[in-house]
């Protein structure tokens, strides 16, 4: 099985007045067809920038400065803008936190969906409409035949996100990039959307990168998880293993910070300090200043270690190896 997406040494920097912001600074990721990857991190960790970089959606002053981006073996960095556009609409779909990034407020849903279909495929308007109605039904919108005539503002936030998802899936994409798609939604609605997405991904066999700050959400949907910190992936591996027995101290700290992991009423196991500025990362391991296991060796850039079970950790002394000693 060849990889669907290969990201190697991706660096995306922003050239600001204050200096060079290394938002993404050496990310490697291999995604297999049909794989659902959770990309987790706190604000400023670079998770969204990394996903936008794959699609070439970085605006100045940001720029992908280094790295390889291979989609089905095709180099996306050297692809023409036309080719990228073609890929974006058809094979690689994007779902944003704010569905209005996808939807135009002044056009009917029908118009937008039919246009999207016909932008990449030569089909009749009628066929395009039928496919759109069908897709709306599949994302859980009842009475799609009539509701397709509505404008975006006539829908609730949850419904709008469903429409945005439906548009993203119109061409049966091979890869879906979902950037915090449920963060703005209520718990019960989030549950619905996650359920629909699980179903759809399973049906279509699409691979997906699900970017989120919420480990609990990612855990419910992802096969594999990558954890980002300071512009780099510090740990990745099968979801159950990463959550169950984290290899990187940051992952461990993150999990321990979640209230439900601790006995109610007791102090939480907080990570001390705050996330470093990507403008001015400490040399060596970016997490070292907050790490309770940190020692002298952490002052040099940590290696990426294979810790078994298909897991990698960017740490000089991953927790599992420590335990093994």
């Amino acid at each position: 099985m060849t990889a669907l997406l290969e990201v190697r040494g991706l660096k995306t920097h922003f050239l600001t007045r204050a200096g060079v912001v290394k938002a993404v600074d050496g990310v490697d990721m291999i995604l297999q067809p049909g794989e659902v990857r959770g990309l987790v991190g706190e604000s400023g960790s670079g998770k969204s920038v990394a996903s936008f970089s794959i699609l070439g959606l970085i605006d100045p002053p940001g720029r992908v400065v280094e790295g390889e981006l291979l989609y089905k073996g095709e180099d996306l960095r050297t692809a023409t803008p036309e080719r990228l556009k073609q890929l974006r609409g058809k094979e690689i779909a994007m779902i944003f936190q704010d569905p209005m990034m996808t939807l135009t407020p002044v056009l009917r849903i029908e118009t937008q969906m039919v246009e999207t279909v016909r932008a990449h495929e030569r089909v009749s308007a009628k066929a395009a409409r039928e496919r759109s109605v069908d897709m709306l039904r599949r994302v859980g919108i009842s009475a799609p035949e009539t509701r397709i005539r509505a404008y975006p503002h006539q829908f609730s936030g949850g419904m709008r996100q469903r429409v945005a998802i439906a548009i993203a899936l119109l061409h049966n994409p091979a890869l879906i990039l979902a950037d915090e798609p449920t963060t703005a939604l209520d718990v019960t609605i989030q549950g619905q959307i996650i359920a629909e997405m699980q179903k759809l991904v399973a049906e279509t066999g699409a691979a997906m990168i699900w970017v989120s700050h919420d480990l609990a959400v990612v855990e419910t949907i992802a096969d594999t998880i990558s954890v980002m910190y300071g512009g780099r992936i510090v740990e990745s591996g099968p979801a159950g293993r990463v959550i169950g027995a984290p290899a990187h101290p940051y992952t461990e700290g993150l999990l321990n910070s979640i209230p439900s992991r601790t006995t109610p009423g007791q102090r939480l196991n907080q990570i001390p300090g705050m996330a470093p500025s990507v403008l001015n990362l400490p040399p060596g391991c970016a997490f070292a200043p907050r790490c309770r296991y940190a020692h002298a060796a952490c002052g040099t850039p940590p290696p990426v270690l294979d810790v078994g079970e298909g897991r990698m950790a960017r740490c000089v002394s991953p927790l599992m190896m420590e335990a093994a000693e």
């Binding site: 706190e42 019960t188 989030q190 996650i194 159950g240 993150l254 209230p259 939480l268 705050m274």
Partner: protein, 331 residues
């Protein structure tokens, strides 16, 4: 424990500004002026030293209720009592005291701080204005407060935008503490923070409760936070309380179908990958809530009576209230 704050049949109706077509309809008598009953007949007691959680989804009125308690909004019906004294009987001094004793911690750590004021002024303004301390003691007081919430007092002359989200939230907490409150209303106060920072702030809340004997009304959609922090919890749906009880009991055995659904669907770490059986349907518009039990449109157990008759919030066990017709049949 004496009741610290008592809400009885509290109601808050917002008149929505009608658009042109609606104005026309109102003029012609075809439609009533649009109104949102954000808080609908809520009765709740919070005892001294207690931490009560208020849980619900967007538009359920939990933030409005919190603002009524904090004195930011007036209510349109019902009674409010603080330390046993009803609002209607407050003297000017009582009102001032109640207002200062109940402080609010907000959600957005950026917009809740005045961007054009220095931290020193943000924290130190109210105690000086209210004469709690003389102006010359302001710097010392601010320094003490900053230390208490875990901020470096050396940054007192900086502006809010020069701080991270977690630090800003600490500034907001210090501002509230500056008037020596007894009661904090925390409205989604950690929701905008990253997990690692959220843990720090939650720890601060717990420390302050212990040190200062504070009472909390903790408003959140995050059940993990509520379970961790509160003694009792009240669940709201479309302006009404649907269930009230101790946190431990509710998380163990929710009575109301909505509470059950919430607990079921909240993503919780460590459950692993799982298939959802989500609650059906959308949250109805608060402008036009369904009759009877507001929840009946989405309730898997809905019965005929649920569509017409509003279920009363009544005791289903000692200290446990629920508003569901399912409990009627068990009588």
């Amino acid at each position: 424990m004496t009741a610290h704050v008592t809400l009885e049949n509290v109601e808050k109706v917002f008149q929505k500004k009608p658009d042109f077509a609606e104005r026309l309809a109102i003029r012609l008598g075809a439609a009533p002026p649009p109104a949102v009953r954000a808080v609908d007949d809520v009765t709740l007691e919070i005892a001294q030293g207690e931490a009560v959680g208020l849980v619900g989804e967007s538009g359920c009125g939990k933030s409005t209720l919190g603002r009524i308690v904090a004195g930011i909004y007036g209510k349109t019906g019902g009674t409010f009592a603080f330390e046993g004294k009803e609002e209607a009987h407050w003297s000017a001094e009582d009102a001032r005291r109640a207002r200062l004793d109940i402080q609010m911690i907000f959600q957005d750590p950026m917009s809740s701080l005045n961007p054009r004021k220095r931290v020193l002024d943000i924290i130190g303004e109210a105690p000086v204005v209210h004469g709690l301390i003389p102006r010359r003691e302001q710097p010392a007081r601010v320094e003490a407060l900053m230390r208490e919430v875990g901020l470096d007092p050396a940054y007192a002359r900086r502006f809010p935008h020069q701080f991270s989200g977690g630090q800003r939230q600490r500034i907001g907490i210090a501002r509230a503490l500056a008037v020596e409150p007894k009661f904090l209303v925390c409205d989604e106060s950690v929701a905008a923070l990253d997990v690692s920072i959220q843990a720090q702030v939650l720890n601060l809340f717990m420390d302050l409760r212990e040190k200062r004997g504070l009472t909390y009304l903790f408003i959140s959609h995050d059940l993990g936070v509520i379970e961790h922090l509160t003694d009792r919890v009240a669940i709201m749906y479309l302006g009404r309380l649907v269930e009230v009880g101790t946190t431990a009991e509710i998380f163990r055995d929710a009575n109301h179908p909505y509470t059950q659904a919430l607990l079921e669907e909240a993503p919780r770490i460590g459950r692993g990958r799982r298939a959802y059986t989500p609650l059906k349907g959308e949250i109805p518009s608060p402008l036009n809530p369904p009759p009877g039990c507001h929840f009946h449109t989405r309730c898997p157990h809905a019965m005929t009576i649920c569509k017409t008759e509003r279920p009363r919030l009544k005791a289903v066990a000692p200290g446990r209230l629920s508003a569901c017709h399912l409990n009627d049949t068990t009588d």
